[in-house]
């Protein structure tokens, strides 16, 4: 069964066309991440699914029901907001229970579901605190708890980690992944952070300017990007795009090589001078200015003695190179 189906969804704000013909299916139990630069429409798409915005055209189906005109609370969704959006005047327990009370659930059911969610998220000792008395990570867990108690068909996360610091972000990421495994619920997650996308997603949807650029598993997108935008968006450090530095690439074509696929070699095809070295312990990143004036990032595993100013030659395997035409689309017949 499909958890969500979007068919030809368009959204206009006045005359601005924000979402352009979005078609997408999310299977039951799937974790789908919408990723893209800011302003690409990913949050708007999530809000259309949630029902906080109406689609200008097209249909939104959740479970078996077309929900275009159904209010958010009746869509069987639960949303976690970037700012957590907790009710400041209510305790943790009441924050989680308010939606159920509003539905008219009996008190015992509310109590039971809230305490189950609190236990799952380690919030039991904070039950009577108010949001102002909680740390960012705890607030985030309350917001997640508020969505769990509703027992939704579809979870929606709107950049839930962007207000957390780096260490907490990692932990919460793991917690969300575990939550997905425990609940085996369908989840849609919006982020602009490609690491979150790669680590959490069953499938990634890359959006740009209101259009779906590519849909696939993280490794499909990484190994087989449909165009230069997707290739550059995923992977860190991001892919090198060279027009002149590699001999034999025809005019107008660009060759893309991921930093980790480059290696130092005496007889390498690319030559240049090292302008910067980042030593991360496990990895060493080199910035190389090629003889043709382009900048290449090289990711070497382990530690490397190369110094700034060294002249190096770089080599890569033919299989690891991607070619893009002037329209920035991927072309598959390798250049001469």
């Amino acid at each position: 069964m499909t958890a969500l189906k979007l068919e030809n969804v368009n959204k206009f704000f006045g005359s601005v066309h924000v979402l352009k013909d979005i078609n997408l299916t999310v299977e039951e139990g799937e974790f789908v991440v919408f990723v893209g630069p800011s302003g690409c429409g990913k949050s708007t798409l999530l809000r259309v699914i949630a029902g906080l915005e109406d689609a200008s055209s097209g249909t939104v189906t959740i479970g078996d029901d077309v929900v275009n005109t159904v209010p958010p609370a009746k869509r069987g969704i639960a949303m976690v907001f970037q700012s957590y959006a907790l009710y400041p005047h209510l305790t943790v327990k009441d924050n989680m229970g308010l939606g159920l009370k509003q539905e008219g659930q009996p008190r015992a059911v509310v109590e039971e579901r809230v305490s189950k969610a609190s236990k799952m998220l380690d919030l039991e000792e904070y039950a009577t605190r108010r949001p102002a008395e909680l740390s960012g990570g705890q607030r985030q867990r309350v917001a997640i708890g508020r969505s769990i108690v509703r027992d939704p068909k579809l979870f929606l996360f709107d950049e839930p980690l962007s207000n957390l610091d780096a260490a907490l972000r990692m932990n919460t990421r793991v917690e969300i992944a575990e939550l997905h495994r425990t609940l085996s619920a369908s989840m849609i997650y919006v982020t602009h952070d490609q690491i979150e996308a790669m680590t959490l997603a069953d499938r990634i949807v890359v959006l740009r300017d209101g259009r779906v650029e590519q849909v696939g598993t993280p490794m499909e997108l990484y190994n087989n990007p449909a165009n230069r935008f997707v290739a550059s968006f995923l992977g860190s450090p991001s892919m090198n795009f060279l027009e002149r530095s590699v001999p034999g690439v025809p005019d107008g074509q660009t060759i893309g090589i991921r930093p980790e696929h480059l290696r130092l070699a005496q007889s390498g095809r690319i030559s240049g001078r090292v302008t910067h070295v980042e030593r991360l312990g496990g990895d060493t990143n080199l910035l190389v200015n090629t003889d043709q004036g382009e900048t290449v990032t090289v990711r070497l595993f382990g530690q490397d003695p190369t110094e700034v100013g060294d002249v190096v030659r770089l080599e890569f395997a033919a299989d690891d190179a991607f070619y893009f035409n002037e329209a920035q689309e991927r072309i598959f017949e390798a250049a001469a």
């Binding site: 949630a50 209010p71 958010p72 609370a73 959006a85 400041p88 308010l98 509003q102 102002a132």
Partner: protein, 307 residues
């Protein structure tokens, strides 16, 4: 070493504070304390003499004075009650309606409702006197037009209605202030909280009662105390509509008009600055007590929310 640098860094504080302190002292602090001082004197044979608390003994002990004082205080209490029960709830309701994003022309309504607040009390008092007049007023005619003429009473002229009528006129004039304050408080509630409520099924009236109202309680508290202070200092509307005698038969007399009559004199009553000051001091005490009850009893229990 330290001493000269200290001098250098300190004197400018006094310079920058001076203008505000001087102006505030001249128009607020000095008159306040002088009024309190004046209430402890009396004039006998054209000479000012110290009488201690004698003026207050007269005010609360002498039947002629104390009847007037308690009448004015009770009227003032009713005046305040009407504002709390009518003005503030209507102000909150108007703000809630105005803050709805679907309302068209909301800027127009906002201005229209706020305009009476900036009108002079003389215009308001006089205009309402004309509107409600049984002789030239348009109120009887308008009620007649919708078949409700039997409801008409000369409201400003009857002892049992006059104070309530004037309170409602004052409500009409000042309802824009709570509306604006609450409107601003409502706008400061982040959209995401209301959207989270929408996802929880809390929309419309439920959103107002369960989310918005608890979050604007601190503003409602501020409005209540502002209303209290303004009402117990009120004078102008009653004076403009009913004169300093606050007729009919003192039924609209409030502390402000009572104090004015006593201090400056009116018609056959001679002015007595010392008794007037005693009344003014009593008003100050009443307002001080009221504000203290609010600050220490109520405001501490209200939470301010940071979004």
């Amino acid at each position: 070493m330290a001493a000269p640098s200290k001098q250098k860094t300190r004197w400018h504080i006094a310079v920058f504070l001076a203008p505000a302190v001087l102006v505030y002292t001249a128009v607020m602090i000095y008159p306040l304390f002088n009024t309190l001082r004046l209430s402890l004197y009396s004039e006998i044979d054209q000479e000012r003499i110290w009488v201690g608390l004698q003026n207050f003994r007269t005010l609360f002990g002498d039947a002629i004075w104390s009847d007037q004082f308690w009448n004015a205080l009770a009227n003032n209490g009713w005046f305040f009650l009407i504002h709390m029960l009518v003005q503030n709830p209507i102000g909150i309701a108007l703000a809630a309606i105005l803050s709805s994003p679907r309302l068209r022309f909301s800027a127009f309504y906002r201005s229209a409702i706020f305009i009476p607040t900036i009108l002079s009390f003389v215009i308001v008092g006089f205009a309402w006197k004309l509107i409600l007049s049984p002789i030239w007023g348009i109120a009887p005619g308008m009620l007649d037009a919708i078949g409700l003429k039997f409801l008409y009473q000369p409201w400003l002229g009857k002892e049992e209605y006059a104070l309530t009528t004037l309170s409602l006129v004052s409500v009409w004039q000042y309802v824009g202030i709570p509306m604006m304050l609450i409107y601003a408080a409502l706008l400061s509630i982040p959209d995401e909280i209301l959207e989270a409520g929408e996802c929880d099924g809390i929309t419309g009236m439920a959103a107002f009662w369960k989310i918005k109202l608890p979050l604007i309680l601190p503003s409602i508290g501020i409005i209540s105390v502002l209303t209290f202070v303004a009402n117990f200092n009120a004078f102008d509307l009653i004076y403009a509509a009913q004169g300093a005698l606050a007729g009919p038969d003192f039924s609209t007399d409030i502390l402000g008009t009572f104090m004015y009559r006593t201090f400056f004199g009116f018609q056959l009553q001679l002015g007595d600055p010392h008794m007037g000051s005693a009344i003014a001091s009593a008003m100050f005490g009443i307002i001080l007590i009221g504000v203290c009850i609010y600050l220490f009893g109520i405001q501490r229990r209200l939470r301010n929310y940071q979004f």
